[in-house]
């Protein structure tokens, strides 16, 4: 999929662990791990909203479009 989730970069910028984010967002660590590793098939707006709220960022900071050739 050409959509890449850059959650790991944002976590590193905010110096936050996945478990900490999981507690604050209310999404389980395994699910966040699926999202972080790019195995997720989709992201709900509600999840994206919570992530943006906790990490203090925009949806565009968490997602990027990489055409297949560039990947």
């Amino acid at each position: 999929m050409p959509i890449n989730v850059t959650l790991d970069i944002m976590l590193a910028k905010r110096k936050m662990s996945l478990n900490e984010l999981s507690e604050k967002v209310g999404v389980t660590s395994p699910n966040l791990s699926i999202l972080k590793t790019g195995k997720a098939k989709g992201v709900r707006f509600s999840t994206l909203e919570k992530l943006c709220e906790v990490l203090g960022c925009q949806p565009a900071d968490l997602l990027e479009y990489l055409p297949e050739k560039q990947k």
């Binding site: 699910n31 966040l32 699926i34 999202l35 997720a40 098939k41 989709g42 992201v43 709900r44």
Partner: protein
């Protein structure tokens, strides 16, 4: 109805079907052949090969019953919509095709030998009908379960 109850009920139906099939293959058909041999002693040599062939034709049906048992077993765990079950339905479709082929061979052989008894024609017609319906049903179910499994997987991987 709870899925565990549905699973148990369907397994009971399968067990009864398996018992009925065993009864037909190992009691009814040999009894019919004994009757045929009694009426036509010249056909005595046909009895064992015909019983063996009917036994051979019952193998794919028993295999389907085993596969359906496995599918119904997944109902209780709410895991019916899986790729494994889609593959099982595909295998069942192939087994039905094999059985239909065996029935067609038997029908051709009997026709060549001039056996055109109404009872045999009726039984073969019933076998053909059940075979064709089974192939269509298993083909449709395999596709539906595969689609449902994909949707389920997408849903589970939507965070």
């Amino acid at each position: 109805m709870k899925s565990s109850s549905a699973s148990s009920l369907l397994k009971i139906v399968l067990a009864v079907s398996a018992a009925a099939l065993l009864f037909v293959v190992f009691w009814c058909f040999p009894a019919y052949m004994r009757h045929v041999v009694f009426v036509r002693p010249d056909l005595a040599g046909w009895a064992f090969p015909m019983e063996a062939y009917i036994g051979l034709m019952s193998i794919p049906v028993f295999a389907c019953i085993v596969l359906l048992w496995q599918v119904f077993g997944t109902l209780s765990g709410d895991n019916a919509f899986s790729m494994e079950n889609a593959k099982r339905f595909t295998v069942m479709k192939r087994l039905a095709i094999v059985d239909l082929g065996l029935a067609a061979l038997l029908a051709a052989f009997l026709l060549i030998c001039g056996v055109t008894a109404a009872f045999i024609a009726m039984c073969l017609t019933a076998i053909f009908y059940v075979g064709v319906v089974s192939i269509i049903v298993f083909h449709v179910l395999a596709g539906l379960v595969r689609n449902a499994a994909e949707i389920k997987q997408d849903h589970e991987l939507t965070i």
